[in-house]
């Protein structure tokens, strides 16, 4: 499989990347492969407060719909507006241009509690078996 090691992961297939105290959040390549072609991403507005493991948005694929879960508690400080016109970016570059929101976490240490790429890969393999 092979997941990037510069981000951390949740069991719900979100990833987070910590830069300058802000965590960029998206969904993993495994999630996009499971979902298929994504046609719509519903995201919160900047300023919204998120609670860890609570839904913060919705991703609609042709075949399925899935909630997005906040990897940690905090405030939304940025939203990827290009996804409203081009949701396929999530399929094309799930770890890059397909990012969804940026969160300023309430507790910086929460980020370290997310899974490493090695643990996430194990988690995916267990789910897949």
């Amino acid at each position: 499989l092979g997941f990037p090691d510069d981000v951390r992961y949740t069991a719900e297939h979100e990833w987070g990347r910590l830069e300058n105290g802000v965590v960029t959040v998206g969904i993993t390549s495994y999630a996009t492969e499971q979902l298929g072609d994504i046609v719509f991403v519903e995201l919160p507005d900047a300023g919204k407060r998120l609670e860890a493991m609570k839904p913060f948005g919705v991703v609609e694929a042709v075949k399925t719909v899935s909630d997005l879960y906040a990897p940690l508690s905090g405030e939304v400080v940025d939203v990827n507006a290009t996804l409203s016109d081009n949701p396929a970016l999530v399929n094309q570059e799930p770890f890059g241009e397909g990012w969804m929101i940026r969160i300023r976490p309430d507790r910086a240490e929460d980020f370290q509690k997310m899974m490493s790429n090695v643990d996430y890969e194990k988690h995916v393999e267990e789910q897949h078996a």
């Binding site: 298929g36 046609v39 609609e60 042709v62 075949k63 719909v65």
Partner: protein
């Protein structure tokens, strides 16, 4: 200990694996849901041609002097009107008018072939066996048929030179039995996509030769492999039924808009009395097409509301790749089943306005002969 039921595999399993398909459990079969992407595969069928493995479908053979009468009484459509070399779509109904399955009946010179949904093979076979009179032979031959669908405006060009010329002249819902791609096969001009196309039934021992032959013949025409994901978006754009979603044991063909397949003029068939009564008393609900603005998609089982009251339920929904909008089907109270009427689909806490529209949603398919099925 957890009992594990092994999934069945079609004879094309290795091809799916090597093509990188995502495989899922579908009616107990390990089937390809997607090879490259739902939308790409969908468009390939609308614009060129696609190859589907649908070997999970069931095939029953029926023969004997009473075979015609038996089938004509078992299903709602008019088997007696079939010419040799012709096929028919029909519901198979319970006495109360509920739908046991929807199926195809093929009339060959000395037998009939009944093609049923994979999820219903055991149920249908038991159901039919109980009605089968002495002297009529009914056998389940599902394991002795591989089934490929070649669908799209260029389907005939893919087959040209590899099947008898007569096969390319077949009308919709006509078939012949002959040689194709080096194998004995039933070549049928049928499909579930709204495009021109063929379905090829042959023995699994010929699976490698036929698959390889179709893929090679199709390459110059842009043929790609298509999974069950795109099969569903293609059929839904045509408003075709998916058993278990849009129709089941608790829905009647009249409610589902399949009245054209219910021949109440036949003197008798299973479900006739109940369906006559239903027609006389009027339907309480109808299956309608719904079309939505925006990009939120209606999904199976989402409630339908009107003026705050529950008025029905979504049976199928998808984002239509051809129309680039969300579409679906839903049962709705008869009084609301009017074209142009607006209802609301409840998606969690969100309510999505949905307009009741005509089926099929997609009317530009290459299959000009396509009726409601």
């Amino acid at each position: 200990v957890q009992p594990v039921t092994a999934l069945k595999r079609t004879p094309f399993y290795d091809f799916h694996r090597s093509a990188g398909a995502r495989l899922v459990d579908f009616a107990g079969f390990e089937m390809p849901v997607r090879y490259t992407g739902d939308v790409r595969e969908h468009q390939c069928v609308r614009n060129a041609v696609g190859l589907f493995d649908i070997s999970h479908m069931g095939e029953f053979l029926v023969r004997g002097d009473g075979a015609l009468a038996f089938l004509d009484r078992a299903v709602t459509n008019d088997v007696a009107s079939l010419a040799v070399g012709q096929a028919l779509y029909s519901p198979l109904c319970r006495a109360d008018g509920g739908i046991v399955d929807d199926l195809l009946v093929y009339r060959a010179a000395d037998h009939f072939m009944v093609v049923v949904n994979a999820s219903n093979i055991a149920k249908d076979f038991a159901w039919l066996r109980d009605q089968c009179p002495p002297g009529v032979e009914l056998v389940d031959r599902s394991d002795e048929f591989a089934l490929l669908a070649v669908q799209g405006p260029r389907a005939a060009e893919v087959l040209r030179g590899h099947v008898p010329d007569a096969a390319l002249e077949l009308g919709f819902y006509r078939f012949l039995i002959g040689r194709g791609f080096g194998a004995d096969m039933v070549i049928s001009r049928t499909g579930y996509t709204g495009e021109d196309g063929f379905e090829l039934y042959f023995h699994p021992r010929d699976a490698v030769a036929v698959w390889t032959g179709v893929v090679e013949a199709g390459a110059p025409h842009g043929l790609e492999l298509v999974g069950l994901g795109a099969r569903d978006t293609l059929r839904l754009e045509m408003g075709y039924m998916l058993y278990g979603n849009d129709i089941d044991d608790t829905t009647s063909p009249l409610e589902a808009g399949l009245g054209w397949t219910v021949k109440l003029a036949k003197p008798d068939f299973v479900g006739r009395a109940a369906l006559v009564r239903q027609k006389e008393q009027g339907l309480t609900r109808r299956l309608v097409g719904i079309s939505l603005d925006g990009r939120r998609v209606p999904r199976h089982d989402m409630p339908l509301e009107s003026a705050g009251a529950a008025v029905g339920r979504v049976t199928s929904g998808t984002f239509s790749p051809s129309l680039e909008r969300p579409i679906g089907m839903a049962y709705v109270e008869s009084g609301l089943a009017k074209l142009g009427h607006i209802v609301e689909v409840r998606a969690g806490e969100t309510r999505l306005p949905a307009t009741i529209v005509k089926r099929p949603f997609w009317t530009k398919g290459s299959n000009r002969g396509a009726s409601a099925s």
